[in-house]
Subunit: 343 residues, 2 copies
Amino acid sequence: MTDLNTIGEFGLIERIRQATPAPKHADTIRGIGDDAAVFNWGDDYGLLATDMLVEGIHFDLMYVPLKHLGYKAVAVNVSDIAAMNGLPLQITVSIGLSSRFPVEAVDELYEGIRMACEAYNVDLVGGDTTASRSGLIISISVLGKVPKDLITYRNTAQPNDVVCVTGDLGAAYLGLQLLEREKQVYLADPNMQPNLSEERSYLIQRQLRPDARTDIVHELRDLGIRPTSMIDISDGLASELLHICRQSGTGAVIFDENIPVDDQTHLAADEFKISPITAALNGGEDYELLFTVRPQEFDKLSTNARITAIGYLTANPDQVVLATKAGQQTPIRAQGWESLAKS
Amino acid sequence: MTDLNTIGEFGLIERIRQATPAPKHADTIRGIGDDAAVFNWGDDYGLLATDMLVEGIHFDLMYVPLKHLGYKAVAVNVSDIAAMNGLPLQITVSIGLSSRFPVEAVDELYEGIRMACEAYNVDLVGGDTTASRSGLIISISVLGKVPKDLITYRNTAQPNDVVCVTGDLGAAYLGLQLLEREKQVYLADPNMQPNLSEERSYLIQRQLRPDARTDIVHELRDLGIRPTSMIDISDGLASELLHICRQSGTGAVIFDENIPVDDQTHLAADEFKISPITAALNGGEDYELLFTVRPQEFDKLSTNARITAIGYLTANPDQVVLATKAGQQTPIRAQGWESLAKS
């Protein structure tokens, strides 16, 4: 018997992918291996993605308001559609609930879900409700679409492409550290007031209520740019960059000083004695987009404050590195998933 | 604060449905309220359904082999597509796993999933894998399609329509009773051999490895019959019939002697001192199809051994009754869902 932790989440997905036979339906364009599955719907490609959030693994209801959780559960799914350069259409929401949740808690959760549906122009069209012995489980599936000539995969990047990220990175991870610390303080003395001041509000918001970058999908279309590859940053920049490089057969050079990090992230990183670059590379949950464009296309983006060029791809797949201003290079490695919880 | 058990599963779904705004996308034809959501895909309607199975609520791994569980998880989703008169195309599978599951257990589960994909001609195109603190969670979403002129809803039945069911009912419920009893015997004395003889094999198979009736969808098409309404029997005949009647605004008279029950179900029902009709009405998990056809269409079906007419619809929505040969009528009521588990 082989412990799941020895192969890890990506090992498990790869094992499942390899055992999965080739699609039988001609309409199935792409299956396991990207942010969403891709189908031939005539004029457009259809997209389907799904994400499961489990209490005690992905969220702690001691500090996550249910309304924010509902919003986030939708946003992380929509983010997978954005990562294919697509826009979302419909979602289904399945929830497992233990008896400690009153009806009002479900109302709160769905209020957040509806707010996200409004924000992303998505129809809530179905789902499943069930009992659970172990707290809250949320499983969302999202359908989306993308014009055929705009679909963007992970495995189509080329050497010399410019590597871009949207927004800034590492904030959600430091938001989580702040919330976890305040929780410990509260558990030690329930009379203590939480110390989550204004100057940390951005970090908290990034952790509790992240947004999917559908705005960037619209913007790229307006600029007439189709990225050569794209992925959303759910597990950290390092892991996502390695997906693109591995699947495209390229290497990459990323300049650490170019990685966009917010001032609040810098301050909190100092406080927690974490390098902000480490938070950006391995923190995860930023739900920004990582994409590549041909060098000649990048000019159209260079004045966009929401998009930052952080490096370029190379022809050497063995070389995915972080480069300092001084010229030092260190290999970029992905962290594994959270260890499986005991039960 | 309101306990979820006071409103029940259907109350909760109704509450969510009422709070859900009308669809924003013109392509969203039907949202919450049927076996699957319905989309305009051009020539066909697209269908999306989803089901979540939670360890300790929906299955007990003491007697459910993982391979069967994987098969069943796919079959119950495909059954929702069949209930719309559609055929399945693709599925995504999300699993939550606690650390007690070795890699080999995941292999077993996916072997069953692949067998079902083969049986139903479905492509496995994606999913999510995550840790769980509470055993196994399986959430599957399925896409399907149906020609526009064949789509079959729950709310389009009419008075005088003939009520039909496929296969036989109540067997899965008695299979569950048998497995539960053998489990108790085993727990009391682990040296006892399980007493699951040949004459019970059908009941066990119906519980552990049910099949979706896509064969009936093909058959109805071959016969040129479009049902006036259809639903799959997951919660028991009573509950499903009431869905059709409530949503169509009809009543129904069902003849108890017409309800198809297998010989093994009769024998086991005697043994457990349960009425086989009660098992059929409230047992659930049969995954047969309940549908209605216009009276003049029924002739085409009357010689089909796999389809049984069990009654007819009436214009009185307050009268959904079970009728005996002697002419006695009793109202048909739906049982609630399983109480929410404690946690």
